[in-house]
């Protein structure tokens, strides 16, 4: 009887069971019309931090924070501001993990200030206010959503201003800070599963390609340094699928990303 009821419900359901998709495809020979979409969606830090939370005891996120005193100052050139904006948004995700409302509020204000320096503040005013309001309420789910939204709004506004290159630097700044935090946590309590989260060849290749394609006007000393850092990280993140990433590699990546973050935050660039 129960089985008949289930069968009847399945029959009446608007869900159409798929025609079986092929069990395997040849990735190297995708049909011509299946050309790869060039857009890479860069994961937000919380997508990775959430896995760390599941792997073992909750990491000490407060120890990983780089607290921002006051509103983040706006350094000289636009590429540096774009990298800094991305790293500050990533810092927001870390502050959320640390459940630090004051830190998140400071980040909300800094996001607006840096966006203003890039002439895209109109697109993030609402997001910034919402980050601050939700930090007050300790609604961390909403803060994460608004940080992700701020990132997308800034990038969207930059694309409309024909600043696609700067938009990529925002993503890269966020990735560098997120990776610094990830390697700090994994380096402190090494596990193969934790280290495997660093296996991101697609993203490294994407950033490498974007940095190589930057117009000469954006090739500042800082960008050259970042480009070298990305190239140095590439062989450390596991060249072979399923290959382990050693504790030594985790620490090396942490050292490279920490150095880059210091440079991104530096006024002297």
């Amino acid at each position: 009887m129960k089985k008949a009821l289930i069968l009847a419900l399945v029959a009446l359901s608007p869900v159409v069971v798929l025609a079986e998709p092929p069990k395997t495809i040849d990735i190297s020979k995708l049909p011509a019309q299946s050309k790869l979409i060039d857009d890479v969606v860069v994961p937000v830090p919380s997508e990775i931090f959430g896995v760390l939370d599941k792997l073992g005891p909750k990491p000490n996120w407060t120890a990983v924070q780089r607290p921002i005193k006051g509103v983040a100052p706006t350094p000289g050139d636009q590429p540096q501001i774009a990298l800094l904006l991305g790293s500050v948004i990533a810092e927001g995700f870390i502050a959320v993990e640390a459940e630090d409302p004051e830190g998140v509020k400071q980040i909300g204000k800094s996001v607006l200030s840096l966006a203003k320096a890039l002439n895209v503040d109109k697109s993030v005013v609402k997001r910034s206010n919402s980050i601050i309001a939700n930090a007050d309420k300790k609604d961390w789910t909403m803060v994460r959503k608004e940080l992700d939204g701020a990132l997308e709004d800034v990038k969207g506004a930059m694309s409309e201003l024909n600043s696609e290159a700067l938009s990529q630097l925002v993503s890269l700044g966020g990735w560098i800070r997120g990776t610094e935090a990830l390697t700090a946590v994994v380096g402190k309590s090494y596990s193969k599963d934790g280290a495997e989260l660093l296996h991101q060849p697609l993203l490294l290749d994407h950033f490498e390609k974007r940095l190589a394609g930057l117009k000469p006007k954006f090739k500042t000393p800082l960008i050259t340094k970042v480009q070298k850092g990305v190239l140095d990280i590439r062989p450390l993140i596991g060249l072979v699928e399923g290959g382990d990433i050693s504790e030594k590699s985790v620490k090396e990546i942490n050292s490279i990303t920490s150095d880059l973050i210091k440079s991104i935050n530096s006024k002297a660039q």
């Binding site: 998709p21 299946s34 979409i37 860069v42 697609l202 399923g242």
Partner: protein, 144 residues
């Protein structure tokens, strides 16, 4: 592609007069997000970023995307064309079908994966059937 497409469509709409072109990718995204809605209640975080475009019937697009072992993912595809039949499937970097489940409905398709490894995965989207020459689609994803 996704960021430029709406802007280019907007310019086309301006040049040729008012029409539905600009709305279609946004509409497709609305359907994708509508498909995501029940999963948000299950604790999935939906990303604000997305992919989208338009495709002729029987053609596919491949999207390469980074996934992390330890998370569970849903990919939701939407289209504004009710009569279209669309699909999304997930393959690992060796080309093996890697999804745990997938479904199709008018306006929607979706696929779920619990990655066995951290790394690059291929999302294959397809317009299987449609009355339109080209059909607008959008793909969003969520994780928990």
């Amino acid at each position: 592609m996704k960021r430029f497409a709406p802007f280019v469509l907007f310019l086309v709409a301006l040049a040729f007069g008012p029409g539905p072109a600009y709305a279609t990718i946004d509409d497709a995204l609305s359907f994708a997000l509508e498909a995501a809605d029940p999963y948000v209640k299950e604790g999935f975080t939906v990303r604000e970023d997305y992919w989208g475009g338009d495709l002729p019937v029987k053609s596919t697009k491949a999207i390469v995307h980074q996934l992390f072992k330890g998370n569970e993912y849903w990919f939701w595809m939407g289209t504004d064309q009710k009569a279209a039949k669309i699909s999304v499937h997930i393959y690992d970097s060796a080309g093996n079908l890697a999804e745990s489940e997938a479904w199709q409905k008018p306006h929607f398709a979706a696929a779920r994966i619990v990655p066995k490894k951290t790394g690059s995965y291929y999302l294959i989207v397809e317009i299987e059937k449609s009355p339109d020459e080209r059909t607008y689609w959008s793909l969003a994803y969520g994780f928990k």
